[in-house]
């Protein structure tokens, strides 16, 4: 038999005496409080419950504004009148449904659909029937209020975007929370029907923008009319988010696209701050804020040129000749070539058993690296590629930020692809063919990049090899103007490339824009020296019967994408731009002029900005 340990059982007896009293006292508290609630306050509380007349009204907080770097408002809130139904009051007065449907021109099925979808919600909480009703309807509703028990009209802030579609991909949009988001944000104050950021800055800075909703508990009469407030808490507006973009520059960039598609991002290469971010086609973000209709949504989704995609960071394209920058750097850094290395271009090179053509059919003749980059000679870089090899090029591509996300705080950034021998082995299980190196060296083939990566690349070339985290928000302020958060530049890496090499590249890029036979002449400015590289990304392998130069005869969707990546001024770069025009044809013809407009505007702003030192102010006064 097991041992029974019976030592010092008297300890327990001693404690038992006190514990009994403790338990007794605890329960006494419960009894006394029960008596207080049910006897002393019983009749009060019974009245509240019997009439069952407590209603909740949410007081939605104003969402924080989005402003540009100079404090110009891009997104704000405007009041909108919204119609709600209180199911509990409707139940007693079902005829209301018919009347309100008639007044608002809403089919009965739609109303029932809305009421049905919310079965598990408490019956006393209002359901939104229609938002943003116009003035006439409001007057009719208000004057018929006595006949419409259970209908509540409330003013709520609605998101408004000052300039319509301007920077729509950057700003993003908001919409009603879905079930998944409700689950995700359980410990925050979202309810069915709350608005939440879904895309862009509206999504990423949601926590700052949201504000704190308030609410009122009110007592209503049998017709659902407000008798007196029981309790009320004020809402508190969200914080204002100041973006890094400049409205004027953004506007010029957007307009430069006219009706073409593609993406443009401009950045300060010294800090990574984004100055403009365009993606075309754009969309109307306010359509989402006032709850988008099914047709509108379908049209956006089925649009052939993907308006909901921020192509600057979600679109992946072969960089074409822009990539020759990387091939050149790889050649110089590995010692496979020197700036003086000369090669001959006859318009094509025969390798394996096929011809690799240069874009210039007549050929460039015998040229050095400087001319090859400036005139974008394919043949030259085919040969450099063969000398350097795929993996060395891939190495420098990664050093310059390709094949990886930049880490920008915007949703759905893509990482692109930088192929290498090991990548191909892993991806396809076969070895790399040296013929593929030729395509790779001129930015075609498996290589895929986002415009933002190309921007990072050109910025690194401009600033001596530094990679900055691209940032779209400069700071966040509360409504009193106090700074809550400031985003300072973040250097995410430094390419291991010698200054000498970079200098050679920089000068060649300057030549590409400013020398007679350069491909980027379309971006040349009178007062400021621009340096840049054009590119043309093949959409399909050139069909034999379409000779190069016949682009305009091709159907739009098969035409090449046009690239241009550039920075300015050449001596002390302040702005870098990556331009992509989808199906735009040649980079020099389609993309470079867009960059020119952006540079022009940028330096125009810089020049016209009054430099108000104390001296100039005094001069003004005494002038």
């Amino acid at each position: 038999m097991m041992e029974l340990n019976t030592q010092r059982m008297e300890d327990f007896k001693e404690r038992y005496r006190y514990l009994r009293y403790f338990v007794g006292a605890a329960f006494l508290i419960l009894f006394v409080y029960l008596w207080y609630l049910q006897v002393i306050r019983g009749s009060d509380l019974r009245q509240l419950s019997e009439n069952n007349r407590i209603r909740i009204r949410e007081v939605v907080a104003d969402r924080g504004m989005l402003l540009d770097r100079k404090g110009r408002i891009l997104a704000h809130n405007r009041p909108s009148f919204e119609v709600f139904l209180v199911p509990e009051d409707i139940r007693e007065n079902p005829e209301t449904l018919g009347k309100v449907g008639e007044l608002l021109n809403l089919p009965q099925e739609e109303i029932h659909e809305k009421m049905k979808g919310l079965k598990r919600r408490p019956a006393f909480r209002p359901i939104k029937l229609k938002s943003d009703i116009d003035w006439d309807k409001l007057v009719i509703l208000e004057s018929n209020r006595i006949h419409l028990p259970g209908v509540v009209v409330d003013v709520r802030p609605t998101r408004a975007y000052q300039y319509g579609q301007l920077a729509s991909h950057l700003l993003g949009y908001i919409g009603e929370v879905d079930e998944h988001e409700l689950k995700e944000t359980k410990d925050r104050a979202y309810r069915m029907g709350s608005m939440i950021g879904k895309y862009g800055v509206e999504y990423e800075w949601e926590a700052h923008l949201k504000g704190v909703d308030g609410g009122r508990q009110i007592e209503v009469d049998a017709l659902g009319r407000e008798i007196k407030p029981l309790r009320s808490v004020e809402s508190f507006p969200g914080n204002n988010v100041f973006l890094t973009i400049d409205y004027d520059l953004q506007k010029v960039a957007e307009e430069a696209y006219q009706n073409r598609n593609g993406a443009l991002i401009a950045m300060d290469p010294r800090s990574g701050r984004i100055l403009a971010m365009v993606s075309k086609p754009s969309f109307d973000p306010s359509a989402f804020a006032r709850s988008i209709t099914a047709e509108e949504w379908k049209a956006l989704l089925e649009h052939p040129f993907h308006p909901l995609q921020n192509k600057g960071l979600q679109g992946q394209y072969p960089p074409g000749s822009v990539f020759k920058i990387v091939t050149a750097i790889a050649g110089l850094e590995t010692g496979a070539i020197t700036p003086e290395t000369q090669m001959t271009c006859t318009g094509a090179i025969h390798y394996g058993n096929r011809d690799f053509r240069c874009w210039k059919e007549k050929g460039h003749g015998t040229i050095d690296l400087h001319r090859a980059l400036a005139e974008s000679c394919d043949t030259y870089f085919y040969q450099v590629g063969l000398k350097v090899g795929v993996d060395a090029i891939a190495h420098y591509a990664s050093e310059l930020g390709l094949g990886q996300k930049t880490g920008i705080t915007l949703p759905h950034e893509k990482s692109g692809i930088v192929p290498s021998t090991s990548w191909k082995k892993k991806r396809f299980g076969v070895q790399w063919y040296s013929g593929e190196t030729l395509s790779f060296a001129v930015g075609q083939g498996y290589l895929n990049t986002t415009p933002l990566q190309i921007l990072t690349l050109i910025s690194a070339v401009a600033n001596g090899g530094k990679r900055f985290l691209p940032q779209v928000v400069e700071h966040v302020e509360n409504i009193y103007g106090g700074k809550l958060k400031e985003y300072s530049p973040v250097e995410t890496g430094r390419a291991d490339i010698s200054e000498k090499t970079l200098r050679v590249i920089q000068e060649a890029l300057m030549a590409a824009v400013n020398e007679p036979r350069g491909t980027g002449g379309g971006a040349a400015l009178k007062d400021v020296k621009v340096a840049g590289k054009t590119g043309t990304a093949q959409v399909i392998k050139m069909a034999a019967n379409f000779k190069k130069g016949d682009m305009n005869r091709m159907p739009l969707k098969f035409r090449d994408h046009a690239w241009f990546a550039a920075y300015a001024p050449f001596e002390h770069p302040q702005i870098a731009v990556a331009v992509l025009v989808e199906h735009g044809g040649y980079g020099g013809a389609a993309a470079a002029p867009i960059a020119k407009k952006v540079f022009g505007k940028y330096f125009d702003i810089e020049a016209s900005a009054p430099v108000k030192t104390e001296e100039t102010i005094e001069e003004e006064v005494y002038d």
């Binding site: 029974l4 059982m9 007794g24 029960l34 509380l45 407590i54 909740i56 019956a123 508990q217 808490v233």
Partner: protein, 365 residues
């Protein structure tokens, strides 16, 4: 092994009190969930099935001589903790917290069974006597490990309510087994100084609930709202209540979790002060009865074991009712035998089984 004398000494009074509350609970659930919106098996039916399973488990637990349990105490404890780890890794997430494990077609909450296994482990540990002066801090290394390991795992789920219960049961047992006063005071000081640290560990919604409790005007639509509505429900019952099936407050969905954590408000609304006093009175009797079983036990293991169960019942009951009446912050602690929930009902009845076990063997050894 089963002695005829066991039937003579079977604790019919305890059994009676438990059955009274449990059946009253089913009746109450029937009323609360009768607004006809549930799909599938009605909630009260499910609860009846759980009750049947629980009662069977209770009787099995009661009739196996409890001294055999000493051999398995630590094994049971380790198993329960492992299950908690599994929950964190593979558990089912419902409304933001990860508390469930699925075995075949059955889902259960290991955190419920951790309570019983902690009590078993503590009983086994405190089986050996400390000597005349009582335990001091240096004896208490293992017991602290016993409680903090599952507590941390449960807080990660997150389930603040159950973690609080574990801590309170543990502290109650410390007092019962006679820990030196100097040690208790040291513990108290340490505990208070840990409060800021724990505060940082809490989730935002938990912080908000505590802040709301301290200042209910802050959030009239959220946690503060529940408190008001719960009070209105209980208070509106008055002295005699609105009558069975006649409550309005709970059925209209004014209260969240009306059939789990807030079940008592429905009882208060329909049965009034009279009903409340009867039910709360039976709880009081049950707990005092349990305390007597604990001190009447023939050995240390039985005493600590039954005391642990009583402490668990007491804290659950007291905190839940105090919360429903608005005397305490809203923490997810259900009411034993009344709240809906299979794992909780069964683990409560297993605890009762242990109590019955100790009770009917006090004359045998």
């Amino acid at each position: 092994m089963i002695d005829r004398r066991l039937f003579i000494h079977f604790d019919w009074a305890l059994m009676g009190m438990v059955l009274f509350i449990a059946l009253f609970g089913i009746l109450n659930l029937y009323s609360v969930t009768s607004n006809g919106e549930t799909v599938g098996t009605p909630i009260y039916m499910k609860q009846m099935i759980w009750l049947a399973i629980g009662l069977a488990a209770m009787l099995v637990i009661a009739f196996v001589e409890y001294r055999y349990y000493t051999d398995f105490a630590y094994i049971v404890y380790v198993t329960a903790v492992v299950l908690l780890i599994i929950v964190l890794g593979y558990g089912i997430i419902t409304s933001g917290a990860q508390r469930w494990v699925r075995v075949g077609a059955i889902k259960f909450q290991p955190s419920e069974f951790v309570k019983i296994s902690l009590i078993l482990a503590l009983a086994k540990f405190f089986q050996s006597s400390p000597g005349r002066e009582g335990y001091s801090l240096k004896h208490l290394g293992y017991p602290f490990l016993f409680v903090f390991l599952p507590m941390i795992l449960i807080l990660k789920q997150p389930d603040l309510g159950t973690a609080i219960i574990l801590l309170l049961v543990f502290l109650s047992v410390l007092i019962f087994v006679k820990v030196r006063w100097s040690s208790l005071i040291t513990l108290g000081v340490m505990g208070v100084s840990l409060v800021p640290l724990v505060w940082r560990f809490l989730k935002d919604y938990q912080k908000r609930r505590i802040i709301t409790f301290l200042n209910p005007d802050l959030d009239p639509l959220g946690a503060g709202y529940h408190l008001i509505q719960s009070k209105i429900a209980v208070g509106s019952g008055g002295i005699f209540g609105k009558g069975f099936m006649k409550g309005t407050q709970c059925k209209l969905g004014f209260l969240p979790e009306q059939h789990t954590d807030f079940i008592f408000s429905a009882l208060g609304e329909e049965w009034g002060l009279v009903g409340c006093i009867v039910v709360v009175g039976v709880y009081l009797l049950l707990i005092l009865w349990g305390l007597r079983i604990a001190v009447g036990s023939k050995d240390r293991f039985g005493a600590v074991l039954s005391f642990g169960v009583v402490a668990m019942l007491f804290w659950h009951t007291f905190i839940n009712i105090a919360m429903v009446l608005g005397l305490m912050p809203v923490v997810g602690i259900p009411l034993p035998l009344l709240s809906y929930g299979g794992s909780f009902l069964i683990s409560t009845l297993i605890g009762i089984g242990l109590l019955l076990n100790v009770s009917m063997r006090r004359y045998l050894f």
